[in-house]
């Protein structure tokens, strides 16, 4: 499969970002029904799913090159967006092996990996990289192994060490985040770093999710979708940069709401890593504007209904109240009340 990349896209200042028709139809729309509430919505990460975004171990799309450049910009401004605690060194190599082998197998036109014993050669054609190195010897790479490979991957990643029947977030590459901070959370337990989420603790969601993840097996990754709303197609909505993006919320008007307001979806994947027994958590971010989503009849009806009936605490947690009514007013004329099919697929072959 050969992808047509859009290397000149930006996720800041002029926001030169757009979706091709195919890219919109592969969007992992996060609502399987017309209402939303927290649940343990985890399923096996098998190859294939309701849209093309689920077809590979790690999804690469037309925004790949531009997203890697955006990551480099964030890291240049704030190197602490990538941190790994010293005891996670094996997990770093596990991550490099998993991502390189997966990309080379799934996208042979774009990536290749050749091995002569411990001497590996990695070729990343979209980014113009060819790198020979010795597996297990960090000094043979320009960055630590985790930073090296996650600079060449879309989406954020964290590393969880498993000990004392808990998961500790002991490393990460976090530049495309929905308002949480690795610098603040590093070293936290599973319940600590999910602390701010409303309603779900009381429902036992995190107790059950933790038990499930402690049993996660190598070779049997799992996935879930999470979502929020972001103003402008901005990847870096970090607490560190709140002064940069927070004011965006005040810029939404009834005229620009369709283009400004974006549904932000995270395709989250969890992999047990072999040598370290750590868990790699991938948080792959997708953005689609309300105007784009309104091109898909099922999705525009459902988005209207979900946002209309959303629990007030979840609205507040996701930062919606200031502009929610404008989104509803924009979407309401598109919602004819017709029933929608179960599941997240678009029900369209083409736009």
């Amino acid at each position: 499969m050969t992808l047509q990349f859009k290397p000149n896209e930006t996720f800041r200042s002029d926001f030169a970002y757009g979706k091709s028709d195919a890219d919109l139809l592969r969007f992992p729309f996060p609502f399987p029904e017309d209402a939303y509430m927290y649940s343990v919505n985890i399923e096996p990460h098998v190859r294939g799913g309701p849209t093309a975004a689920f077809a590979h171990v790690f999804d690469i799309d037309e925004h790949y090159v531009a997203e890697c450049r955006e990551r480099a910009l964030v890291l240049a401004e704030d190197p602490k967006r990538c941190q790994v605690l010293p005891h996670m060194e094996m997990a770093e190599w596990d991550t490099l092996e998993l991502i390189m082998e997966s990309l080379a197998a799934d996208y042979p036109d774009h990536f290749s990996l050749t091995k002569a014993g411990d001497l590996w050669t990695w070729v990343n054609r979209p980014l113009g990289i060819q790198q020979s190195f010795t597996f297990g010897e960090a000094h043979t790479l320009p960055y630590g192994p985790f930073e090296y490979i996650t600079r060449q991957a879309q989406g954020d990643f964290t590393l969880q060490d498993q000990r004392d029947d808990n998961l500790y977030v002991d490393g990460g590459m976090v530049t495309t985040q929905a308002d949480w901070s690795l610098e603040f959370n590093i070293g936290m337990t599973f319940h600590e770093w999910h602390g701010p989420v409303p309603l779900a603790h009381e429902k036992g969601v995190f107790d059950r999710a933790l038990k499930y993840l402690l049993r996660l097996q190598y070779g049997r990754p799992v996935r879930r979708l999470n979502w929020t709303i972001t103003i402008n197609p901005r990847l870096d909505t970090s607490p560190e940069n709140y002064p940069v993006w927070g004011p965006d919320r005040t810029t939404v008007t009834s005229e620009n709401v369709g283009e400004k307001v974006h549904l932000r979806v995270e395709l989250q994947t969890l992999f047990r890593l072999p040598r370290s027994n750590a868990i790699l958590f991938g948080i792959r971010c997708y953005l689609a504007s309300v105007a784009d989503l309104a091109r898909v009849p099922k999705w525009r009806r459902r988005l209207h209904r979900v946002l209309r009936d959303l629990h007030p605490e979840i609205q507040a947690y996701k930062g919606l109240p200031r502009y929610r009514q404008m989104v509803l007013d924009h979407l309401a004329p598109f919602d004819d009340g017709a029933p929608t099919s179960p599941g997240i697929q678009s029900d369209l072959d083409a736009l």
Binding site: S39, V57, G219, P274
Partner: protein, 318 residues
């Protein structure tokens, strides 16, 4: 890595280590690299004997860096009618065996200041997979292998490559002469204990460590996991008027799916609640984390992805 079903392996080499121990080297049938197997990992082999199919788990003794073969060491137990007898007597080089992808329930701690390894008999096998990594990382460790007198020689040969300059001891007097409490009581803070061997040895190590004040998270016993299956039973889908046989190694959900009926499910691990079905009759052995204690006691629902029937029949409102 997403595992795509069982891995077919070819028996490449069988090496006799002692009258009762053989080392099997297994390579990928179709070539290429095997999934990375970490220190402490095991594989579940499907052994097709003359009259029955056995599923046996064996610790891997090959290091993680070794992607071209998996190695196991199997002891032939005199009275065995099961897997060890079959592997010793019924398997020849060139034969094909299926394995499930490696699973690791006995991993090395990444933050231990020192690793204390205790093996009893054939329980040496996962410890052998640790040693190359511990040596390569320059980690501090101490190994005690408890042995019968006749096995001392073979354990010495297996440990010899790792022995120079290391605290590795073989205790040929068996369990009786082994000072478990003495060894556990003189370890520095931050030591992790790994013990593999007969159940009484592992239990004694865990209880001795607890009595000496070791934190539970620093004591690791070898495990192949809880049995996923159980006794076979009949599931009756009342609304459809269908009777289904649920086999020993099959979940209720898998048995329903095998008939072509799409049953509700999501996580397939007893956490999400999606597969819950109402129970009309029969007793459920609950294995999920979703139902509350009250709901479990009421016996009115079953999570089909992990739970089974304790009774011979389970009637479900589905």
């Amino acid at each position: 890595m997403i595992a795509d079903g069982p891995i077919p392996l070819r028996v490449h080499d069988i090496e006799s280590l002692s009258p009762s121990l053989k080392r099997f080297s297994l390579t990928a049938l179709h070539g290429g690299e095997l999934p990375t197997a970490a220190p402490g990992a095991h594989i579940m082999l499907t052994l097709r004997g003359p009259d029955r199919v056995m599923k046996n788990a064996y610790s891997l003794v090959s290091p993680a860096a070794c992607r071209d073969r998996y190695q196991i060491i199997v002891r032939h137990v005199a009275q065995s009618r099961g897997g060890s007898a079959f592997l010793h007597q019924g398997i020849r080089p060139g034969d094909v065996i299926e394995a499930a992808p490696p699973v690791n329930l006995f991993p090395l701690s990444q933050s231990a200041r020192k690793h204390l390894l205790i093996g009893g008999g054939i329980g040496i096998t996962p410890l052998l997979s640790y040693l190359p990594l511990l040596k390569a990382r320059g980690a501090r460790f101490e190994l005690h292998q408890i042995s019968s007198a006749e096995d001392v020689g073979v354990f010495e040969r297996l440990l010899a490559p790792f022995a120079p300059g290391q605290e590795i001891r073989i205790h040929g007097g068996g369990r009786g002469a082994f000072d478990l409490a003495g060894i556990l009581s003189r370890q520095p803070l931050g030591t992790h204990l790994y013990v593999c061997g007969p159940r009484p040895l592992m239990d004694a190590a865990a209880s001795t460590a607890a009595a000496l004040g070791w934190p539970p998270g620093k004591v690791h016993k070898e495990s192949f996991g809880e049995a996923a299956g159980g006794l076979p039973f009949k599931a009756i889908l009342a609304r459809r008027g269908i009777e289904i046989d649920v086999g020993e190694t099959q979940t209720l959900l898998e048995a329903i799916e095998a008939t072509g009926i799409a049953a509700p499910c999501l996580c397939r691990g007893g956490a999400c609640g999606e597969c819950r079905l109402p129970v009309i009759e029969g007793e459920v052995e609950h294995r999920d984390d979703f139902l509350s204690a009250e709901e479990k006691a009421a016996q009115s629902a079953v999570m089909t992805c992990v739970s089974r029937a304790r009774s011979a029949r389970l009637v479900i409102d589905f």
